[in-house]
């Protein structure tokens, strides 16, 4: 809890968080308005995909400093020589990052409220879309945290995490070029393949399992980066 409070404060007292939220809301508002006036349909599928793509770029910026900065400034030594476990450090940082992602989603929910006030949307896909975005944000945060753990340079951490996220997002495309069984393997690694059902209102346990697995692997790798050599 102590570590979590410290991480929350570190994230929400940094101007990075507010810049990110502001840019995110601006772009999302633009997308929502455009979609509303061009399509005139009461749904958020396009908004969800727009948010997902923004997450690919934004979440690595939130996670980049989490471990890299502690390593660079030497404070990681203070943390690791305190009587706390690596898992507590990693979970606190992950949870703090997820809080910011959740806050952005809560603000995006304004779009859903607008739809609810002026139309009669199908609520199922809207709920599942937000769940999908939270899972996607969590997966990207876990990946970003692990990458942040292997470098002491924030920019390097952000760029590599972005690259990894974007590659995982669209990795299914290469499936068309690959023979069996590799095409299925590659397709089932794809973030977009597992996110699409959520955004369109089809909840599958396997998609949920996929995102939880990515989060788990990311957190385990983050802990590995803290392992004492």
């Amino acid at each position: 809890m102590t570590l979590l409070a410290k991480e929350e404060k570190a994230i929400f007292s940094s101007p990075i968080a507010y810049a990110i939220v502001a840019v995110y809301l601006l772009l999302m508002g633009y997308t929502f308005t455009l979609m509303l006036f061009l399509n005139r349909t009461a749904e958020l599928v396009r908004v969800f995909f727009q948010a997902a793509v923004l997450f690919l770029l934004i979440v690595p910026v939130i996670t980049m400093r989490l471990l890299a900065e502690e390593r660079r400034s030497g404070t990681l030594e203070i943390l690791l020589t305190s009587p706390v476990r690596e898992i507590e450090i990693v979970l606190a940082k992950f949870a703090a990052c997820l809080t910011l992602v959740a806050a952005m989603l809560v603000l995006t929910a304004a779009d859903a409220v607008v739809l609810g006030l002026y139309a009669d949307p199908d609520w199922g896909p809207i709920y599942s879309g937000f769940v999908g975005l939270l899972l996607l944000g969590g997966a990207l945060a876990a990946i970003g945290l692990a990458v942040s753990g292997v470098t002491s340079n924030q920019i390097v951490a952000a760029v590599i995490a972005m690259g990894a996220g974007i590659l995982l997002w669209m990795i299914d495309s290469i499936g068309y070029l690959l023979p069996e069984p590799f095409d299925t393997i590659v397709t089932s690694l794809s973030l977009v393949a597992h996110f699409t059902p959520f955004a369109t209102g089809a909840l599958f346990l396997s998609d949920l399992g996929f995102f939880l697995t990515v989060i788990l692997v990311g957190l385990l790798l983050s802990m590995r980066t803290l392992a004492r050599r």
């Binding site: 102590t2 570590l3 410290k6 570190a10 007292s13 400034s73 030497g74 404070t75 030594e77 203070i78 943390l79 690791l80 020589t81 305190s82 009587p83 706390v84 476990r85 004492r228 050599r229």
Partner: protein, 314 residues
Amino acid sequence: MSAVIVAEQLTKWYGPRLAVDHVSFTVGAGEIMGLLGPNGSGKTTILRIFTGYLRPSSGAARIADLDVVDDALAARRRVGYVPEDAPLYPGMGVAEFLRFMGRLKGLAGAGLTAAVDAGLERLRLGSMRATQIGRLSRGYRQRVAIAQALLGDPPLLILDEPTNGLDPRQIIEMRELIRALGGERTIVVTSHILGEIERVADRVAILLAGRMLGTHAVGATHGGRRLRVRLRGEEAPVRACLAEVPGVAAVHLEGRPAASAPVYLLDVADASVAEAVAKAVIAAGFGLSSLELAPVDLEALFLELTREPAEPGR
């Protein structure tokens, strides 16, 4: 005296580089142990193994009978650690940082408040309570780091180069502080500055290239002594004359041999040899200008132990 710290054949490889080479030592309760060595000699690596930041490649490190690898959390609870250059969170206030560290060490409620207040007072940080750490000077940051290490009253303090980057007045204060803390607990302190460690530690271990060359009790008398003799005369006959005196084990020339009245260092068994040396020198007709007893001090020991072996052919 029970040992608070035990290192047994401690060895650490960084890839192919051997950083610590089978180092063994113990530090007793209440003792201030200094680790002295040039930069890169393995001091910080040894400290980091004891604080749990690094794992030893082989050998064992124990704090109060707790293995630092097998009982890592319990061992870490018994250590207050100030890393080199005192890394702290620049965005936190002084008291806020101390409360944070106190909670990590398991303090809570009134106990936490009392410990933080005691730390602020002991390190005279009361007026800086709300100041952001990033705005503090080097000396104050070092004090905050020490206040943090004292939280929870650990029986062992580990200080890595605590006087690094301080001004002369701060160095003197830091020395006094370390001596004062030493009465209550065991302290391991490192430095690459000889005079520094000599003033602080009860006992000094000298490290070079990862190996421990020996330990030396500061201020204690030793079996071996040295005579410093300044006299005029041809080098060869002087050497022959001095070597013949009973009780003189070896004769060295100090400084430049070309000096008009060079200083010879004699390894002698005990102080009474001085008289015999004076008689022999005067009888031989060499111009004696000074003769004094020089105990083997830390500096001499350090230079002797860290002397590179002479290369053949030179």
